[in-house]
């Protein structure tokens, strides 16, 4: 039973990490990118590649994951977001990020292969330790660290405050001399790096799998919507709720209904409180 709990928390924290990535990207671009889940996928795949294939030390694997994530975040902003934000049609970014996500998933499939490959052990540990297994504690710890780090970043650093300014009112920020393009790019690189990190930390749980991107995009989004867009605490809560629900539902009803139950949770929350548990009510645009 404890295994179910800890599995739920661990996967939940991975979803929460993706939700955090969504939040950072949304704050500077007002865009929800379909590529968000794929960033973590790349973190896992590149980390596994560096450690298992290139036989590098796990710190270099971590670096590879962070760089891969950050680079893909930058690519998302430069290719799929920047040129599209100026157009009047609001949903072009949905199409461009969907296109980019498909491309990166297929490319990963062609390069890495379509079978999930085991992720290497980072810290020497027996495989029989059950609940204390690092595959659970790495993602949980990493996500909590990320959340705390982001809070400190927003409250204590200059750039963090600039991010928040852009999030409140991008036009005013621009009028104050802030290069919104550069800040947006930075936020995508930062969130990409975090996403890569999260994928790396959770690699032993998820395995290095090219098709992970889409499920993470969806489940990370559910965690985000449940917790409330814009709230990092909400992301953690939403992720935890989703992860635990998934784990217990799998335990009682079997794994086939996982997705159904996850979406069911989302629908219920959206019907009762459309802005999510901790989100802000949106103002109507006329």
């Amino acid at each position: 039973m404890l295994t179910v709990l800890i599995t739920g928390l661990a996967t939940g924290m991975l979803f929460a990490a993706v939700a955090l990535v969504y939040n950072v990207m949304y704050s500077t671009s007002k865009v929800l990118s379909v590529t968000t889940g794929h960033i973590s996928m790349l973190g896992g795949v590149f980390g596994a590649y560096a450690i298992s294939v290139l036989q590098l030390h796990w710190t270099l694997g971590l670096l590879a994951a962070v760089v891969a994530g950050g680079a893909f975040g930058a690519l998302t902003e430069l290719l799929a977001i920047r040129r599209v934000l100026n157009r009047s049609d609001e949903h072009l970014w949905l199409l461009s990020t969907l296109a980019l996500a498909t491309m990166v998933q297929q490319a990963a499939g062609l390069w890495w292969g379509t079978e999930p490959k085991p992720f290497p052990r980072l810290i020497p540990q027996d495989f029989g330790v059950g609940v204390m297994d690092q595959k659970f504690w790495l993602p949980i710890g990493m996500t909590l660290l990320m959340a705390i780090g982001l809070e400190l970043f927003y409250k204590r650093t200059m750039y963090g405050k600039v991010f928040m300014a852009m999030s409140e009112d991008a036009f005013a920020a621009q009028a104050r001399g802030i290069s919104t393009d550069r800040i947006r790019l930075m936020s995508y690189v930062l969130s990409g790096a975090l996403g890569g990190l999260a994928g790396f930390a959770a690699g032993q749980l998820t395995f290095a799998f090219f098709a992970l991107g889409l499920t993470l995009t969806l489940n990370g989004f559910i965690a985000l919507a449940v917790g409330g867009l814009g709230s990092n605490v909400g992301a953690i809560l939403g992720g935890a709720a989703l992860g635990l629900l998934n784990a217990y539902a799998s335990y009682w009803f079997g794994g086939e209904y996982q997705q159904t139950i996850a979406v069911g949770l989302l629908m219920i929350v959206l019907l009762v409180k459309p802005e999510g548990l901790l989100g802000d009510r949106q103002v109507r645009p006329v």
Partner: protein, 334 residues
């Protein structure tokens, strides 16, 4: 809205003749199969076009409805022994019902939320199909029943799906060129304005979504028959993306554009071998290029070229109201 000019009619006649006589001039069975596949896809895409191209609802989950239609047909016409025509109709109805079930909670959601909900739907359908082994054969799948003579031969089947495709095309063309078409486009381009002229936005979205469910269900039924065997793996999420790309590339708000998009994108990987290997990467790349360069679709490229060759001079005339006419128009009470 655009009535057919003589040139349009000529092209349509030519196209119609080519389509009608295709089994005669197509090279081999494989090409005939490809033509039938295009027709099957178009049955779904013509309906989806009303949702995506006209109403602007970015649904990326229609492969789930295709899957439901296919399995409904395979089960009803296969295991349950229904007459295939009846099973075909039932698949359409079931597609519509599932469209209603999906649309009701999700059409009120903003764009990204809606897209995610439809994607989740496709994944859920896949999971359920895998899980309900007694009904669907699980991972092993089901055979796709044939239609009775004269539709059991490849050319006979081709005519069946072509007729269905023609029917759906005609329905959607009618919708597009009357008031419904304008209302749907208003929802896509300016929902605030749509409301202000009295369009019941949610109800219209739901109606057109159910329509796309019916066409997807019908497409699923004939798809199962064409493929002769279906498994859950047949209905990957990437197929939804493919439908979507056909519409966006063809241009929103048009019928002929997405049709040409469907023909080209289905045939291209078959004719250009290296593309087949790239598969979905190619569709993703194509979508990205179109969105960045010509978001209104490839049709717009032709317009741009035409503009360069024969620039249209826009005569600016001052506005001069004809008050007598205005007065008469206001007094006219139909």
């Amino acid at each position: 809205m655009n009535s057919l000019t003589h040139t349009h009619k000529a092209w349509l006649l030519l196209g119609g003749l080519l389509i009608a006589t295709l089994p005669g001039w197509a090279g081999d069975q494989y090409q005939l199969h490809l033509a039938s596949l295009i027709a099957v896809y178009w049955i779904l895409i013509a309906g989806l076009n009303m949702v995506v191209g006209f109403t602007g609802q970015l649904s990326i989950g229609h492969v789930g409805l295709l899957c439901i239609g296919s399995y409904a047909f395979a089960v009803l016409a296969g295991k349950s022994g229904w007459h295939p025509a009846l099973a075909l109709a039932a698949s359409g109805v079931l597609g519509g019902v599932c469209g209603l079930a999906l649309g009701l909670p999700s059409l009120r959601l903003p764009g990204f939320y809606f897209a995610m909900a439809t994607m989740a739907f496709a994944l859920i359908v896949n999971d359920l199909v895998l899980a309900q082994v007694d009904l669907t054969g699980g991972g092993i799948g089901l055979p796709g029943p044939l239609f009775p003579a004269p539709f059991d031969s490849p050319s006979g089947f081709y005519y069946l799906v072509s007729l269905l495709a023609l029917g759906v095309t005609w329905l959607s063309w009618n919708l597009g060129r009357h008031m419904w078409g304008r209302a749907l486009i208003s929802i896509r381009d300016n929902p605030v304005a749509a409301q202000s002229v009295g369009v019941a936005v949610f109800r219209a979205k739901l109606t057109v979504f159910v329509f796309s469910g019916v066409t997807a269900g019908l497409a699923g039924a004939v798809f199962a028959s064409l493929q002769s065997y279906i498994t859950p793996d047949t209905f990957v999420f990437e197929l939804s993306l493919f439908f979507f790309v056909c519409i966006i590339i063809g241009g929103r708000g048009s019928i002929i554009g997405p049709f040409i998009g469907t023909v080209v994108l289905t045939a291209l990987p078959e004719l250009v071998a290296p593309l087949a290997k790239l598969g979905n990467f190619f569709y993703g790349l194509l979508l990205l290029v179109v969105v960045l360069v010509v978001p209104e679709g490839i049709g717009r490229v032709f317009d741009i070229i035409r503009e360069r060759l024969r620039p249209r001079v826009v005569h600016r005339e001052p506005i001069s109201p004809d008050l007598a006419r205005l007065d008469r128009a206001l007094k006219y009470k139909p």
